[in-house]
Amino acid sequence: MTASLRAFVPAALSLLAALVVGALLLAASGSNPIDGYDALVQGAFGTRYDIGETLVRALPLAIVALGVAPALRAGVFTVGAEGQVILGAMAATAVVLALGDGAPSIVLIAAGALAGAIAGGVWALLPALLRARMNVNEILSTLLLNYVAAALLAWALRTWLKTSESVPSPRSDNLPLGAAMPNLLEGTRLHWGIVLVPIGAIALAWWLRTPRALAFDIFDTHRALARRAGVSAGRAIVSTMLVAGAMAGIAGWLKVTSVDGALYSSVAGGLGFTGILVALLGGLRPLGIVLAAILFGALSAGADGLQIDTGTPASLATVLQGLLLLAAALGFEARRRRVGKAVA
């Protein structure tokens, strides 16, 4: 009890420090910090529309985070979600546009989701195989492939996916309305894709109760023991990275079909990267991830409201997200080490 309390102290202190730094930054921008924080909260939860915005931003973050959690638990530090979101969105766009307006909505939705998941998975397969077969560091291969994915997207939007209309910034044709998940909350952008979050969270919670999850947990630290429990290194790496890639691809599919309505070069916009941070902030557990996603979604939506109200740059949200992650890293990572030592 005292040990867990003591572990809580650095987390609480760093949370406090995060709020103080945020207040200083608000003051630096010339606004009253209390008014600033109030505008931030109002922007996130003030109206029905704001709540919809918070949730619609939390949604893809949660999906990416739930997908990447098994890999991170197994010590496979894949940071390629950004590129996998891009590939998923591209594939979904291509398939939906090929099917066209005539196809029934259910076909467009199913085909888009499938295309997104497969493309995201395929983009993850390359670094997964490089890691499993040739011992190439997955942190670097996935990071480098993110930039290759961005180049692929730029090329697609300049050539075969380019809209025939004349537009100032590159984008694809508008997707058929039937490809979008139906709206969930009228007057907001929130759509039924959000049901994938509880489904994903329950799936992760169920998986965490299987013996395989335990074997994956010790895979990183006790490789020989994991092997005796029937986990081969190659299979652990490839399977977790495929799941992470497919989920990121699904997040890309939802973003392009149900939020943006056409493929833009900004489709990922950091959500893959932030999704991984949400997984870490959520302690790699389903409930924690969902809460962390809502928190990050609220910060992002709230900061936009703050910028409109007070002119304070919305990038304050990014600063606060970074500080929160630092606080979390200090808090439960330290606690886990203490618990680990108590067990050992």
Binding site: L144, A151, R158, T318, L326, A329
Partner: protein
Amino acid sequence: MEWTELSFWTLVLAGAVRLATPVVLAALGEAIVERSGTINLGIEGMMLAGAFAGAWGAAQAGWWVGVLLALAVGAGLGVVMAGAVLWGGANQLVVGLALTLLAAGLSTYLFQLWQPSGQDAARVPLAPGVDVPGLSSIPVIGEALFDQSIFTYLAVALVVVVAWGLRRTGAGLAVRATGDDPVRAALRGVAPRRVRTLSLAAGGALAALGGCTLTVGYLGSFTDNVTGGRGYVALAAVIIGRWSPMGAMAGAGVFALFDSLALQAKGGDSPIPIEIFTALPYVMTLLVLVAVARGSAAPRALGRPLES
């Protein structure tokens, strides 16, 4: 311009040296950090912070103030990372990512406060270049070797000094011992925590100097995310270079050569899509990474937390 012409290669090589400089500085810092046993995923953020601090400082009081400010900010971020990882017991990869996010957010935020109107309106004084008369007009290699920013010559000098220092000095031995076996190093009277902290401070300062090279050395302005993943390329360069300063310089050179080639090739009318050239430096870095992946020369305790 055709690739068969000599002047094309003169431009490519000169550009490669320019593009390599920020990556070499960051990779040199990362080589020190990793030799001491820590992986610094915050390197991208430290570069970005250095790029911003350098630009701001230069605009206030001249280029060298920008450089000093960048060094201080980078070292400060390194110490923050050391505090969280070595004293706070936090996971170094998570802290690195958090610092990168923090630095990206802070630099964008402060830049918008500094320049509310434009995205790249600020022009800051550039650090001077060095042009050796005569030698700089040698075909092909002249401009690459004898007409560069002072950051380039500083980077080369630092690589030589660090390579010598790691191999020949007591401090270098302490760094290497801490990275290979902190427990035994501690038995021999080395303080692993202090060594890793100082290494992180030095690595942060060098990463920030690399970022500062972009803004104060070449661009004369700051833009959001101006580093564009070069910190991660520096991480790759360290692995490609087998954790040695000279090797890291060579690894950075691989990326920069293809980056420069792509920049020159983009200018001409080529039937090849320009995006291939954009992706090429990253793809080539990955390919070299694959080629050198077998048989690791990594410090033995790299990435492992200290037992406390």
